[in-house]
């Protein structure tokens, strides 16, 4: 009996270490409920999760496709979303929009600091918005010398792709947080 169990573990270890690349032929379909189903090698998954492995440095490459049910086992990895068919790309991009919400700041209208909080009024790729950060915490972190991630009091995340692309005036407003 124990031999059998050991085999299960062997198998698990095998599964854990194997990396599977999802071929272009995999069929991703949008479900009525707004999720993504997958047909791969004759197997059908009602709903799959899609996770970015490099959300900042390579948002559209190396996407882990995982089962929704149970432990969320990895089914495979999409190496490059742009290499997938047009429809698949659209379905998956929509799904990613649903699970990842990190507005990218393109313009800074004002930053006002008051009693330990800084109030931002900005334009993002998701529209204009206002948010507040706690100046006492590490709300602003640097991904590189020119790239920032700002976490507001609600734990929303905002990104500034390139600080140098901002105007001199906007940069000066940001200086306090750099």
């Amino acid at each position: 009996m124990s031999d059998n169990t050991l085999n299960i573990f062997e198998q698990k270890a095998e599964e854990m270490t194997a990396t599977r690349i999802i071929p272009v032929s995999a069929v991703f379909t949008r479900t009525d409920g707004g999720f993504v189903s997958l047909d791969l090698d004759g197997k059908h998954y009602d709903r799959v999760r899609i996770i970015r492995l490099f959300p900042f440095s390579d948002a559209n490459r190396f996407l882990s496709v995982r089962e929704y049910e149970g432990d969320g086992k990895e089914i495979g990895i999409i190496e490059d979303l742009d290499a997938m068919s047009g429809e698949t790309k659209e379905v998956i991009s929509d799904q990613l929009t649903l699970c990842y919400f990190t507005p990218v700041i393109s313009r800074i209208y004002s930053i006002k600091d008051e009693y330990g909080y800084a109030y931002f009024h900005v334009m993002t790729d998701k529209g204009e918005c206002r948010f507040a950060i706690n100046m006492g915490s590490n709300a602003v972190s640097k991904l590189s010398d020119t790239r920032l991630v700002i976490v507001d009091v609600d734990e929303n995340r905002f990104e500034i792709r390139d600080v140098d692309a901002l105007s001199q005036k906007e940069k000066r407003m940001l200086d306090l947080f750099l």
Binding site: S2, L6, F101, Y117, G127, E155, L176
Partner: protein, 720 residues
């Protein structure tokens, strides 16, 4: 947390209510279907329906058709989904601002699905004020809107208990101001009456003596003033520190857990220190300087109004210059400070990771990296110093110009006999005083805002509501029956760790808890220790809801041994006695013997008086653990909790401690978490926790027969 928003009228009118139907929850949907911000969408839950309103569009769903609602947290936001048979459906997409809210709403929908009509209420605080939109610093109400914030009210709150001391400091300050202002007046007389007039030597001596007295009393008064305000400052700081510490002890762990430990530490150490510094450096001069400043201006105008106005023209220039430069200075020095931080953390990184750097042979790369960080810092420093030198120079030039104006026009007036030389001298003295204090006053707003935020952080803690025990709590003698009744809990409302835990544990039973890391074993124990309270459901002790038992009575009958043993700085006997301060020496020795600790304690040169803790005698892991066990069993608890009590020990120590524990757990309701199943061989039943639930529960052999998770774990472990 608000679960029922007042939604705009046109949106609300779209929700058509039938007879007896009523709105339970209404929350904004702040992200539209394309993933952009929106402010015209709402999610409304009534007694029987869900409404999704997007602008003029409306979708209705009957709650009766649904099986389950889930608030799924994502990255920077989340989605509310419903399940209907096998099909999942997204209903709303929202940002992190509403993560917690939707978790409660989902819980509320599930209650409605199950056919009950209870309304879920959230006790969490809002993070931004719904009225003014400002961030709320962890308090229940917005300090601005409730009128509690603001410098003056904060300051009054702080100063309230020290009225007498403040009055004393204030009086000295007025005296300082008066003497400072009178000195030039005497000097005027010296020049007018003696030097340019026909005064006698006697008058000269008298005036000189007066001047000397004034100068001397300024010095003495200043010392008294600094002394008094420094003393007052440290008194206030000490009182605040004590209050904060007491509050920390009373606050629930979730409050501590929500904040970084450093932040809480800072509030006690840095914020209170800032208050005493403020009192010593700023406050002690505050009234004196304001007083001098105002009278200075008045005297100047009285002496020579034309000259005074001429001088004042310069004031706005000097102040404007100072303010802009100060802003720039603040900015560039902040930058320098940050870069300095970078250098420090780079160093810290490399030095503490020296072994790794060396083993991978990366010394050169690290040197290069450090060189560049350090270079950037040096550049900024160089630039800042240059700027600083310029600034000083400019300010001095401007002030010098002010003096030149005064001397030139004043001199003309003196030649025209419109002004006496003594008055001119007096006027120059006042001008110098004026410029001297402009700079100081310019610094004031920043100091005050810093003080306000320190005070705010302190009062944020002090104003925190501590959940008071209700008057109905009672002391009970615990027999040891524990019942989990639909217990649900999560550290964050939107991420449950334990869901719907149901089990009955008999008095004296030993329960082994197993499961993978992160499944909630320790959380279950935290609930048993009453460090947190269940969000939903109850835990009953001998049939009484845990919340109805007084904490004191419950904790005195509870013994805990954790994996990481914490010993306070103090002697061994102090540490054992911690759990029962009135224990006799005999009882302590008995507990130590039961815990197998007595023998090694005897071998120590200082016996039970051995000093342990951070700076004390270094005990091995096994020895510390045995002291912790002695501490746990000293009050003879009815409930014993062992969280990986032996996991960090070597095999021999573990065996010895297991032996000790076997004797102790008899007759006591025991919960033991263990990874190594062999340590649970005495357990009456095993509880397997998996996926937030109790996956399996039963005796060792029952679970083996089930061939489930426990069986797999067990067979895997005996193979190794």
């Amino acid at each position: 947390m608000i679960l029922r928003y007042d939604i705009p009228h046109n949106a609300e009118s779209m929700v058509e209510l039938s007879e007896g139907e009523k709105i339970y929850y209404a929350v904004p949907i702040d992200i539209d279907e394309k993933g952009n911000w929106t402010d015209d969408s709402f999610f409304v839950v009534t007694t029987s329906k869900l409404f999704i309103i997007r602008g003029k569009k409306k979708t209705e769903i009957n709650i009766a058709d649904l099986d389950k609602a889930t608030a799924e947290p994502g990255i920077g936001g989340g989605i509310l989904t419903v399940r209907q048979g096998d099909s999942h459906k997204v209903l709303a997409h929202y940002s992190s601002r509403h993560l917690g809210r939707y978790a409660y709403v989902a819980r509320g929908i599930n209650i409605l699905i199950s056919g009950r009509f209870e309304e879920v209420i959230s006790n969490e605080y809002e993070k931004t004020c719904p009225i003014c939109g400002r961030a709320i610093p962890g308090t229940k109400r917005c300090p601005k809107c409730s009128g509690e914030g603001g410098f003056l009210s904060m300051f009054v709150k702080m100063a309230g208990p020290y009225k007498k001391d403040f009055l004393g400091v204030f009086l000295i300050m007025v005296l300082v101001a008066v003497t400072t202002l009178l000195n030039p007046e005497v000097q005027k007389h010296l020049i007018n009456d003696v030097l340019s007039g026909n005064g006698s030597l006697k008058t000269a001596y008298a005036l000189l003596a007066l001047m000397f007295t004034f100068s001397a009393s300024i010095v003495v008064l200043n010392i008294m003033k600094s002394n008094a305000s420094a003393r007052l400052g440290s008194k206030i700081a000490a009182d605040l520190r004590r209050q904060l510490f007491e509050k920390y002890q009373k606050l629930p762990l979730s409050f501590i857990g929500d904040r970084r430990p450093g932040e809480l530490l800072n509030r006690i150490t840095q914020d209170t220190r800032f208050i005493s510094d403020f009192m010593a450096d700023v406050f002690c001069n505050l009234f004196a300087i304001l007083f001098i400043f105002i009278w200075d201006i008045v005297f100047m105008m009285v002496l020579n109004i034309k000259l005074a106005l001429l001088t004042f023209i310069l004031v706005p220039f000097v102040s404007a210059l100072m303010i802009t430069f100060r802003k720039t200075i603040g900015r560039i020095f902040h930058l320098q400070y940050k870069k300095n931080d970078d250098v420090a953390s780079e160093l810290q990184d490399v030095i503490s990771g020296m072994r790794v750097v060396k083993t991978y042979g990366k010394e050169k790369d690290e040197s290069e990296r450090f060189k560049s960080v350090s270079g950037i810092f040096a550049d900024i420093q160089k630039k800042n110093e240059r700027f600083w030198a310029m600034f000083d120079f400019l300010v001095n030039v401007l002030m010098g110009m002010g003096l030149v104006i005064v001397v030139y026009f004043g001199g003309l007036d003196v030649f025209n006999y419109k002004m006496t030389p003594g008055e001119l001298y007096q006027f120059i003295a006042y001008t110098l005083l004026l410029f001297q204090y402009i700079g100081w006053l310019g610094r004031l707003p920043r100091e005050i805002s810093r003080l306000t935020s320190s005070l705010e952080r302190i009062y944020d803690v002090l104003a925190q509501d501590v959940p008071e025990e209700s008057d109905t709590v009672k002391d009970i003698d615990i027999k040891g029956e524990i019942t989990f009744d639909h217990a649900t809990f999560g550290y964050k409302s939107y991420r449950p760790v334990l869901e719907d835990i149901n089990a009955v544990v008999k008095p004296g039973e030993m329960i082994g808890i197993v499961g993978a890391s992160g499944t909630g074993k320790s959380t279950l124990i935290n609930l048993l220790m009453r460090l947190y309270e269940t969000d939903d459901g109850r835990i009953l002790v001998d049939g009484t809801d845990m919340k109805d038992i007084s904490r004191k009575s419950y904790h005195s009958q509870l013994g805990v041994v954790l994996q990481e043993t914490f010993l306070f700085s103090g002697t061994i006997i102090d540490n054992i006695r911690f759990s029962k301060p009135d224990a006799t020496t005999e009882e302590i020795i008995r507990a130590a013997k039961l815990a197998n600790a007595h023998d090694f304690i005897c071998a120590l040169p200082d016996g039970y008086n051995t000093y342990v803790g951070e700076k004390g005698y270094t005990l091995s892991g096994g020895e510390r653990q045995r002291i912790a066990i002695a501490r746990a069993i000293l009050p003879d608890p009815r409930i014993l909790i062992l969280d990986e009590a032996t996991a960090s020990l070597d095999t021999e120590s573990e065996f010895m401690i297991q032996k000790a524990l076997e004797r102790l757990t008899k007759g006591k309701t025991t919960f033991a978490i263990a990874h190594r199943l062999s340590t649970l061989k005495n357990a009456d039943r095993i509880m397997v926790i998996d996926g937030h639930h109790i996956a399996e529960i039963g005796t060792h052999s029952e679970l083996l027969d089930r061939k489930g998770i426990y069986y797999n774990l067990y067979t895997a472990q005996i193979q190794f």
